[in-house]
Symmetry: C2
């Protein structure tokens, strides 16, 4: 079985690199490449590959959004998230958007082949480092409610409880309660460390 592989990445070096890594593989057919979301979608109207390697960071739209869009229109295409970053939030969002796997850009040829062959069968694949990140953060994962996220966002933008209350049509006292819960959940002493923690945990 020949697997048709397409790649979306705005870095020529990476496209060239993957092309080079895969060119001697008999089971792989190089379907083409795109450097942005628009030309990727245009290509898919003409023909559909089996597997798309998709960068998270694209110039015109995030790989997350593109992934969602592609899976809606072409559910039979399997998508592998591709990124420099081994960050929980990216991996989670990509998988939530319908991706079948996640591979870091420092992947070896072997790892890349494994990923492509695994997802082409309809299975899920994570590179070693990505799965480690998933496991590690599952324990320390902090779950914020919808409202808490909203409040956190506005706090980080420099709004006071009063202003946030007006913005969300709730009383200042309520905002204060959410704030207290945020401090407790993120184990922060005050606003400064709250914002610090939140950025480090990629919550904002």
């Amino acid at each position: 079985m020949i697997i048709k592989v397409f790649i979306v990445d705005d870095h020529y070096m990476v496209i060239e690199g993957i092309h080079s890594l895969l060119q001697n593989e008999k089971s792989i057919e190089w379907s083409g490449h795109a450097t942005n979301a628009v030309s990727c979608l245009a290509f898919l109207q003409q023909q559909q590959p089996d597997v798309i390697l998709m960068d998270i960071n694209l110039p015109d739209k995030s790989g997350i959004d593109l992934c969602k869009q592609v899976k809606e229109k072409y559910p039979s295409i399997f998508i592998i998230g591709l990124s420099t970053f081994n960050q929980l939030s990216f991996i989670q969002k990509m998988m939530d958007s319908g991706a079948s796997g996640y591979v870091l850009k420092n992947a070896s040829q072997t790892e890349l082949m494994e990923a492509i062959e695994t997802v082409a069968k309809g299975k899920i694949y994570f590179s070693d480092e990505a799965s480690k990140t998933l496991q590690k953060n599952e324990a320390t994962h902090i779950i914020l409610t919808r409202r808490e996220k909203e409040v956190l966002e506005l706090i980080a933008e420099g709004m006071t409880n009063n202003v946030i209350g007006q913005k969300l049509f709730i009383s200042t006292a309520t905002v204060d309660t959410h704030r207290k819960n945020l401090l407790a959940k993120l184990n922060a002493k005050n606003t400064a460390s709250l914002v610090r923690m939140a950025t480090q945990l990629q919550l904002i």
Copy 2:
């Protein structure tokens, strides 16, 4: 004149990609590659290339430090910073460490060749995007003093003016003054937006 090019990057895809982009260039000799700082330094003890393409993010040590080290030992080697990020702080630090140029990983083959040939002559090269960033941020560049940076760091860690004062052996009033100046310099309304801005501007 044949230019010997070496590359240090922890992403196989990028190494492969650059290799592929340069393999048909007659003026380029592929000197080799390393995926970390240690093996790069080991290689340089054996032989020295003319130009090194150096990633900013390496597993064992930052490209910035490696750049400084290499230039100290081998001043005749020209180094081009290589990164996904078009961020002022990275570019500046890399140039401060003795690099001769800075190229983003989405560079085209033409751009890459231009960069290598320019720095091999001892000149400075910036990719289009990098030089735009330099110009753009030169105007909006925020300069913090040594003390302000220290205070900012401690604020972000959640310390109060009082505690910071004890830590730095200065009075609470002084810390408060620094804090006021930080708010003014970063155009922040309060601690929350101060920490937010500081992280966005890569100051902490």
